[in-house]
């Protein structure tokens, strides 16, 4: 289009040049020219150029409003045609076949080649040949007067048939050869340009798709909420493929139906038509088997379950890819287009790539959802067990304690002994249940709800040690507590939990230390921590058992031989509690010599800011 503007600009110069050249020939070269018609020619050129200029701006405005409403080529044809007429006019008044202006036709054939289709160029070349030949013939035969530029040629040539024939022959051949060369060059350039354009378009397209693929890959890790994953996938696929709509259908629990899980670009009403029933839908079955399928025209495809509904919604073609997880098909992803036969192999490859990413994301989200449901079930189970399992055992113990305590009347020694054995078993069961509950609630995060406060370690340890005074002395053990002089050795914890942790350690020490042994509990400051040591001269822990000590249900073989009942959970719970409050636990032991458990807990003083305490207690 801009070449035409350029041509109009050139023509102003041409018009002015025609006027100037005439003046030059007449005044300066002193040639006898038909000045009036030549000046008229120049003015005529300027006049129709003005008209063309006006037409052109009119056309530009129209094109801006409705693209494709008129053909710029037609204006180019008018331009060249007008130029041809102007040229033949000027040629006629400057000597016809003798005129040097004839050469200017060559410019125009080149311009025509730039602006017009090849066929038009040859038509114009023929037209020029016809005009020039016609003019020459008319002048030769005297049908038109011969108006030479007197003084330009020594003899008039327009009456020499040989010259005329030669001149016309070379004029015509030059014109056509030039037309051929120019059109071929232009065709080559146009082809190159088209290639570059196509390449640019493809690159832009590819880059948009790469971006979309990147996004769909990101979805895989961005969220674990299933609905969120599905919605993002349909949305981003619709945008990337530039289609009307995109939907994802997932297999239901029975694996016989495909239910809409997310859609972008289609109304919810459209999907109320129902599920895709696999038994009635060969297309869906084939897609689930791993094929990617086109429907090029919904109205002419009997594989569709709802062709009329689709057509009503304005959908004409669809492309469907399978969503396949690690354990089989999950569902399908489908894109919809308003036009018939819209999809290409490229689209299919792209949709398949999106589906592959999507499948992973969907499967992850599904797995996460399952886990969350399991977690919720576990939470409920723990609460249920708390009441349903714990309370009957508690009642059994209460009844037994009432009996062994003599509250229900005197017992024979045999009865007493048997009831005490029953009570010990019930006690063990109680401990086991408590330990299991503790572990279960710890794993399900119920612990985080327990209130923490400043705990005075000296007071706590004194209280626990006091609890074991009687059993220790009954067993003939020395139980010693060594406390620092400081008044407030404080840590931040839930007092009951800490009690439980320390109780386990002292209980073990007393349990596994033979008569005459020594159990020492000592507390001392260590940097910004409190170090609590539980030292005994007991049976010790075999070297090979040490790495397993904090494993659930593990009990060292010598401990098992010593005391039959034991849950193997006490140390696990102790370590859980200690680490929950930012501490750590260590064990040193020699077989048959004794064991020392050392606990470090971060010291706490009330001047510390509250938030720091909170992070400490959760780390």
């Amino acid at each position: 289009m801009h070449t035409q503007t350029w041509l109009i600009r050139l023509r102003w110069i041409a018009g002015v040049s025609a006027l100037f050249a005439t003046w030059l020939a007449q005044v300066w070269l002193k040639l006898e020219v038909a000045a009036l018609p030549l000046y008229a020619g120049g003015v005529m050129i300027l006049a129709y150029n003005g008209l063309l200029f006006w037409l052109r701006s009119l056309m530009e405005r129209k094109l801006a409003q409705e693209p494709g409403s008129c053909q710029p080529c037609n204006l180019a044809r008018i331009q060249i045609a007008l130029d041809w007429l102007a040229m033949i006019w000027l040629v006629h008044f400057s000597g016809g076949i003798e005129s040097p202006l004839l050469l200017y036709f060559f410019f125009h054939i080149t311009l025509a080649a730039i602006m017009l289709p090849t066929r038009d160029v040859y038509i114009f070349a023929s037209l020029a040949t016809a005009l020039v030949s016609g003019l020459t013939l008319a002048e030769y035969r005297g049908l038109l007067p011969h108006i030479p530029v007197k003084g330009l040629l020594p003899t008039p040539l327009y009456q020499h048939p040989q010259y005329l024939f030669g001149m016309l022959f070379f004029f015509t051949t030059t014109l056509f050869v030039l037309a051929y060369l120019a059109t071929r060059t232009m065709a080559y350039l146009r082809e190159q340009q088209a290639q570059v354009l196509a390449l640019t378009k493809r690159l832009r397209h590819a880059s948009a798709r790469r971006q979309a693929l990147y996004e769909s890959a990101q979805i895989v890790s961005a969220t674990l909420d299933l609905q969120d994953v599905l919605d993002r996938l349909t949305e981003s696929t619709r945008e990337a493929m530039g289609v009307r709509a995109c939907s994802i259908r997932l297999l239901d629990e029975t694996q016989t139906r495909l239910r809409v899980a997310s859609a972008s670009g289609l109304s919810p009403e459209y999907f109320q038509k129902g599920d895709l029933i696999l038994a009635e839908n060969p297309l869906a079955r084939r897609v689930l088997a791993g094929e990617i399928l086109y429907v090029q025209d919904v109205l002419n495809d009997d594989r569709l379950q709802y062709p009329l509904e689709a057509a009503e919604a304005g959908i004409r073609s669809t492309l469907t890819a399978p969503l396949i997880g690690r354990r089989g098909p999950l569902g399908i992803i489908r894109v919809y287009c308003n036009r018939v036969q819209r999809f290409t192999r490229d689209d299919a490859d792209f949709l398949q790539a999106v589906a592959n990413h999507g499948s992973i994301a969907i499967e992850n989200a599904m797995a996460y959802q399952t886990l969350q449901n399991l977690d919720e079930m576990k939470r409920k189970f723990v609460l249920m067990v708390t009441h349903e399992l714990r309370s009957p055992v508690g009642v059994v113990r209460s009844l037994l304690r009432t009996l062994t305590g003599g509250y229900a009347g005197p017992l024979t020694p045999l009865q007493q002994d048997m009831l005490e054995r029953a009570l010990r078993r019930a006690d063990f069961l109680q401990t086991l249940i408590d330990d299991l509950l503790d572990m279960a609630s710890s794993k399900s995060g119920l612990h985080s709800q327990k209130p923490v406060s400043a705990v005075n370690l000296s007071a706590l340890l004194s209280r626990i040690v006091e609890r074991y005074r009687v059993p220790a002395s009954e067993k003939g053990l020395h139980l010693t507590l060594v406390l620092p002089e400081e008044a407030t050795p404080q840590v931040q914890a839930n007092p009951e939990e800490l009690d439980r942790a320390f109780n386990n350690l002292i209980s073990n020490a007393v349990k596994y230390t033979p008569t005459g042994g020594q159990v020492t509990v000592s507390l001392e400051a260590a940097d910004r921590q409190w170090r609590i040591a539980f030292q005994d001269t007991g049976i010790g822990i075999p070297k090979e058992a040490l790495p397993h000590l904090f494993e659930e249900f593990y009990r060292a073989p010598n401990a098992k031989a010593e005391i039959k009942e034991g849950t193997g959970l006490g140390l696990v719970i102790t370590r859980d509690i200690i680490t929950r409050y930012g501490g750590r636990i260590e064990v040193q032991s020699r077989l048959n010599e004794g064991t020392t458990f050392i606990v470090w807990l971060p010291a706490w003083n009330e001047t510390q800011p509250a938030h720091q305490i909170e992070t400490d207690s959760h780390s």
Binding site: R390, G394, V395, S398, R401, E496
Partner: protein
């Protein structure tokens, strides 16, 4: 001297039996109720010196709702209540409103050792 009356409100008859034997051996008179409403009624009839109230009966917080009704009754409001629960006491105390007007003197978690039961009861009743 008239023996002091202790009211056990618990839907678990076995537990009531065990606690009754323990308390009776120490010379208390024991009354029992299997649910909150019955407990409220027994309180009005017998004016016990102390109530041991199970938190979780037919409904999870039945014991708690009954203590609220007790607090609204000027004749019963002064009777001390020990709340008994199968869930660890502090965990429970957390979710329990500590309104001043509720005469809950203590939370005890099940199972209650006979010695401890007697010790606590003696503390509040004498």
């Amino acid at each position: 001297m008239e023996p002091k009356i202790i009211l056990l409100v618990d839907d678990d008859a076995d537990l009531v039996l065990a606690n009754r034997l323990v308390l009776e051996s120490a010379g208390y008179q024991v009354e029992s109720a299997a649910n909150g409403q019955e407990g409220l009624q027994k309180m009005r009839e017998r004016k016990p010196a102390l109530v041991l109230m199970d938190v979780m009966m037919a409904s999870p917080l039945e014991g708690y709702y009954i203590t609220q009704q007790i607090a609204e009754d000027p004749e019963l409001r002064a009777i001390p209540i020990i709340m008994v629960s199968s869930i660890a006491s502090t965990q429970y105390a957390e979710s329990f409103p500590t309104d001043q007007y509720l005469n809950i003197v203590e939370f005890i978690s099940k199972p209650i050792e006979p010695e401890k039961l007697l010790e606590r009861v003696k503390l509040y009743v004498g």
